[in-house]
């Protein structure tokens, strides 16, 4: 087993726990809406975006509304635009893997691939690929198992989903402790809190990221002027 795979596996263990739980919840949800297990499995494989899959699963039972689905998906997923801008440099020179890296750029893969300090001996492009692949794999497996077992799943441990919260806290902390200036990370939190209370839970994510771009533009112009 390559050292790249080992590191990627180690870094994604929390995501395995989180995605197994959330993926199964999603499969179970689709099962209870009356769908064959192939629906959650294939949707997990092709859309690969947690909250959109729940929304689309629900929309499948209503009247055909292509523009509605397009708009909703665009709103939920517009945050990926900002991930893409952040990964332009890092995903350069990754060869054929690049298409897959971009395809699989969910919150978790972006965060791990951005925040992990990769040792010199590790080939970055392999590490990025394995992280993306493992996260995809965990999510699809979870959705498939949830869809297959459906109501057979009787056990339920409350609170396991906190693993994702803890993951993002730890990634943020690593960034915070290691950065020289805290302006960006603190401003991000402040803008997110403000937008959450002003614009509500559906829209605050893209809005706060857009506001952050605005703040950075002002700073950029200032630095340029100096």
């Amino acid at each position: 087993m390559s050292s790249e795979f080992k590191l990627a596996f180690q870094k994604t263990i929390p995501i395995m726990a989180g995605f197994a739980f959330l993926g199964m919840t999603y499969g179970l949800y689709m099962n209870q809406l009356g769908f064959n297990f192939l629906f959650p499995t294939l949707m997990a494989m092709t859309i690969f975006g947690g909250s959109v899959e729940f929304v689309v699963g629900n929309a499948l039972l209503k009247c055909f509304n292509p523009w509605g689905v397009l708009l909703l998906t665009a709103i939920i997923n517009s945050r990926h635009l900002f991930y893409g801008i952040s990964m332009l440099e890092r995903y350069k020179n990754t060869g054929w893997r690049k298409i897959y890296l971009i395809f699989g750029m969910v919150d978790e893969s972006f965060s791990i691939n951005y925040a992990t300090k990769i040792p010199e001996t590790i080939d970055k492009k392999h590490f990025y690929f394995y992280v993306t692949f493992l996260n995809h794999f965990y999510w699809v497996m979870g959705a498939m198992i949830g869809g297959l077992l459906g109501s057979l799943i009787t056990f339920q441990i409350k609170g396991i989903d906190f693993v994702m919260v803890a993951l993002f806290i730890v990634l943020f902390m690593d960034q915070f402790v290691n950065e020289e200036k805290h302006f960006n990370s603190v401003t991000g939190i402040v803008l997110a809190l403000g937008s959450l209370f002003i614009f509500g839970p559906e829209y605050f994510l893209p809005i706060s990221m857009l506001l952050m771009v605005g703040v950075l533009y002002i700073r950029y112009r200032k630095e340029e002027g100096q």
Binding site: K11, P14, M43, T46, I47, F48, E53, V56, L60, L61, K62, F64, P66, L70, T73, A74, N77, S78, H80, F82, Y83, G84, I85, S86, L88, Y91, K92, K98, I102, F103, M105, S111, Y114, K158, G159, F162, V165, A166, F168, I169, V170, F172, D174, E179, N184, S185, G188, I189, L191, A192, L196, F204, L205, M209, M212, V213, L216, Y217, R219, Y220
Partner: protein
């Protein structure tokens, strides 16, 4: 909705999601030099995004303060504490999650 309409709905979700992920790479594809400000964003946006994602995790607890808000905040602070002390991602996440599960069951 017919089966074909269902497939169309899923296809729209797939294409829209892919557009959100591929667009930046298609626009700034390296054929022309990437604008300075975009590179500047690439360096300065991620710390803010990580902060925004932490708030995202807490959105429902923050909007509806309840018993769970307190538990999630305690477990979050524990995660931070253990992480500052041990600096080991897996241990911090394990302790944070187990303490949250324990709090949910005990209180």
């Amino acid at each position: 909705m017919t089966f074909t309409e269902q497939l169309c709905t899923i296809a729209i979700a797939v294409l829209t999601t892919m557009a959100s992920r591929f667009l930046p790479f298609m626009i700034f594809n390296g054929k022309k030099p990437t604008p300075d400000f975009v590179s500047y964003l690439g360096n300065n946006l991620p710390p803010a995004i990580l902060g925004i994602l932490v708030v995202y995790c807490y959105k429902s607890q923050l909007l509806h303060s309840s018993h769970d808000t307190l538990l999630a905040v305690i477990a979050g602070l524990l995660t931070i504490g253990v992480h500052l002390y041990k600096k080991n991602m897996l241990i911090s996440i394990l302790v944070g999650t187990l303490s949250y599960v324990a709090l949910v069951y005990l209180t």
